[in-house]
Amino acid sequence: MITVTHYLVLSAILFTLGVVGVLVRRNAIIIFMCIELMLNAVNLSFVAFAHYLNSMQGQLFVFFTMTVAAAEAAVGLAIIVAVFRNKETVNIDDINIMKW
């Protein structure tokens, strides 16, 4: 019988995967995808709680996170493109003019 904890564990795993992805990968786009992965993990946990609590608010929240993720994706990719156009690279290790 699948209880809510199963879902929570799954979303926690997904979330951790996303975080590790952000830390490890070098390509800006891959990092962005990992962040999206984290957001989807959160959506999963929202839906799980909504079902468990039998309240609509969780579902409602998922809608908002999805639209926001979409907007963020648009802006994020635009920024990555702008960076690429200037520096011909998307590897974030090359992008560190500003330090100390």
Partner: protein, 644 residues
């Protein structure tokens, strides 16, 4: 008549103001007249006050004049008031009298000097301060005079400030006096603490009627501290080194300040507080022994000095030793009497040496003098009177006062005091006549250029000499052992206790007239022996001193270099303090405190640079910091039940 006493102080002040502010524009003569006039007037008024005092019955010869309340804070009241009683009237007579003569003398002596008006302004200021010291009716006012006199001696010693030695001597005098004043100030504070007042009359009446039994701890401490001040001012053993160097100043200054008046302030103070001193026998022995030792010690140094003024300086220290010896054994009148006679003949000797120096246009070394007897006859004759007086040959003044001290020290003190006193008297007679013979008799060793314009001092210098010579002669008759006028005059001040009438009924100690006459004979014999020995060595066989110096080379060198006392003081006090303070400044101030402050600043700067490097510029690192922060917070939030 008595309430004219305020004027005595006022005139010197006016003199100082005039000479100080507009002296530069006045002609030299007017400056001289203003200065001498002010002292003359105050002398005249002192005489009036003295007579006014005599009119009062002997019992209550005490007159107090309150001017205004100076400092008043809580129970600490110090009013500016003047007090005239036999002791202070005698002192103002000496100060203004001798001062007046010296002022006249200085007109001649300082004639060519550029700082003429400045000299007389300081001299008047000195007289004002000395009078304030003597006339003050409370300890604080006396302390003001005490330090003001120290200031004037600083100004006058350092009068020729171009000379490095003069300005050094001035500074040394002031600092050594300040060391003495340190003790005196503490003494005054302790007086205030125990008697809740610093007014003489209140303190002394409280002391005599109060429940202070002899030898009480507090009074002894007070008197010891006061005595420390006295040693500073009157150049006794520990703090005397400044007086010989004070000879850098003009000679009339040495005569007035370092012979007649300022140095006697210590004796006056002890005489004034005789009530307190009588209450602490321990301090009395200290005073007496310091006095005796100083007398002998200074006299021994005086034997070999070659600078004419240095010899007189050491002789002053030794005569002061006598006065302290007298006070120490309780014979305050004898001390004050010797103070008076000493003022006369020591001023005379100094002025005499001044006119010798003036004649030889600045030469002070006795080895370059000799045979001046017939070149400057008046100076010679007056100098002779002074020398005889100080040696203690009857009927001159010195004999009566010194003999009485020796007698009192034998009767009241113990034999040791008398022996030391007698030996010192012998040495005094010896070095005085050594000085006389070396300067006035024998073959003339004067250099060529000094010989041409060797001339007798002008009138206004020789006149004071003759007057002082007369005083040195007649001064003694005031204290003839039989009918001592001065004893009866000063008795009420010293409360009639302690000092024994030389003749007639004595309180306590019994001795007959034959002992006093025996003493007179013995002291005259000692004096004559001293003179004879000096005669043998310095006019009969001049080469004898040289041979003697060869044989006793070590002692001779020791005495010549003043027992190396100055060098010892420098090594013990002056240099270590300088080294310590340099260490303090470099090590503590710049090193520790500033070091630690700048250290903290550098530390924070270092941290700043380290933390700055955390900003690596890589997004991954920043994300990593966020994750680390997140882990800590989660752990802390969920598990952290720690009491904070």
């Amino acid at each position: 008549m008595l309430n004219l006493v305020g004027l005595i102080l006022l005139f010197p002040l006016i003199g100082t103001a005039i000479n100080g502010l507009i002296g530069k524009r006045l002609r030299k003569e007017t400056v001289g007249y203003v200065a001498c006039g002010s002292i003359g007037l105050s002398f005249f008024i002192s005489v009036l006050v003295f007579c006014g005092l005599l009119l009062l019955p002997p019992g209550e010869r005490l007159f107090e004049k309150q001017l205004f309340s100076w400092i008043e804070s809580g129970s600490f009241k110090s009013t500016a008031g003047l007090q005239v009683d036999p002791l202070s009237s005698l002192m103002i007579l000496i100060v203004t009298g001798v001062g007046f003569l010296i002022h006249i003398y200085s007109i001649g002596y300082m004639h060519e000097d550029k700082g003429y008006h400045r000299y007389f302004c300081y001299l008047n200021l000195f007289t004002f301060s000395m009078l304030l010291l003597v006339l003050g009716n409370n300890f604080l006012l006396m302390f003001i005079g005490w330090e003001a006199v120290g200031l004037c001696s600083y100004l006058l010693i350092g009068f020729w400030f171009e000379k490095k030695s003069a300005s050094n001597a001035a500074k040394k005098a002031f600092v050594v006096n300040r060391v003495g004043d340190f003790g005196f100030a503490l003494g005054i504070m302790l007086v205030f603490l125990t008697f809740h007042s610093i007014d003489f009359t209140e303190v002394f009446s409280a002391a005599s009627h109060g429940n202070f039994e002899a030898g009480s701890f507090t009074v002894t401490i007070i008197t010891l501290l006061m005595f420390m001040g006295a040693t500073g001012k009157s150049a006794q053993i520990p703090l005397y080194t400044w007086l010989p160097d004070a000879m850098e100043g003009p000679t009339p200054v040495s005569a007035l300040i370092h012979a007649a008046t300022m140095v006697t302030a210590g004796v006056y103070m002890i005489a004034r507080c005789n009530v307190l001193y009588m209450l602490s026998p321990f301090t009395m022995t200290v005073v007496a022994s310091v006095g005796a030792v100083t007398a002998l010690f200074a006299a021994s140094i005086g034997l070999v000095q070659n600078d004419i003024k240095r010899v007189l300086a050491y002789s002053t220290i030794s005569q002061l030793g006598y006065m302290f010896l007298a006070c120490g054994v309780g014979a305050f009148t004898a001390g004050v009497f010797h103070l008076m006679t000493h003022a006369f003949f020591k001023a005379l000797l100094f002025l005499g040496s001044g006119s010798v120096i003036h004649a030889l246009s600045g030469e002070q070394d006795m080895r370059k003098m000799g045979g001046l007897r017939n070149h400057i006859p008046v100076t010679y004759k007056t100098f002779l009177v002074g020398a005889v007086a100080i040696a203690g040959i009857p009927p001159f003044a010195g004999f009566f006062s010194k003999d009485e001290i020796l007698l009192e020290s034998l009767v009241r003190g113990n034999l040791l005091y008398w022996i030391v006193g007698a030996v010192a008297a012998f040495l005094t007679a010896f070095y005085m006549f050594r000085l006389l013979f070396m300067t006035f008799h024998g073959v003339s060793r004067v250099e060529h250029h000094a010989m041409e314009h060797l001339h007798e001092s002008p009138g206004n210098m020789t006149l004071p000499l003759t007057v002082l010579a007369a005083l040195s002669f007649f001064g003694g008759f005031l204290g003839i052992p039989g009918a001592s006028v001065i004893n009866s005059f000063l008795a009420p001040v010293f409360g009639g206790h302690g000092h024994t009438e030389v003749s007639g009924a004595e309180a306590g100690v019994h001795h007959s007239a034959w002992l006093s006459s025996l003493m007179m004979v013995v002291s005259t014999a000692i004096a004559l022996a001293g003179i004879f020995l000096a005669y043998q060595m310095y006019s009969k066989k001049p080469e004898l001193p040289g041979k003697l110096a060869e044989r006793f080379r070590v002692i001779y060198k020791l005495l010549l270099n003043k027992y190396y006392v100055d060098e010892i003081y420098d090594a013990l006090f002056v240099n270590p303090i300088k080294k310590i303070s340099v260490q303090l400044w470099k090590r503590v101030d710049a090193g520790m405190i500033d070091g630690s402050v700048n250290g903290i600043a550098r530390l924070v700067g270092g941290f700043s640079n380290i933390l700055r490097l955390l900003q690596t510029g890589y997004v991954r690192n920043y994300a990593f910091y966020i994750v680390v922060g997140c882990i800590f917070i989660i752990i802390f939030a969920v598990l952290g039940k720690v009491k904070f």
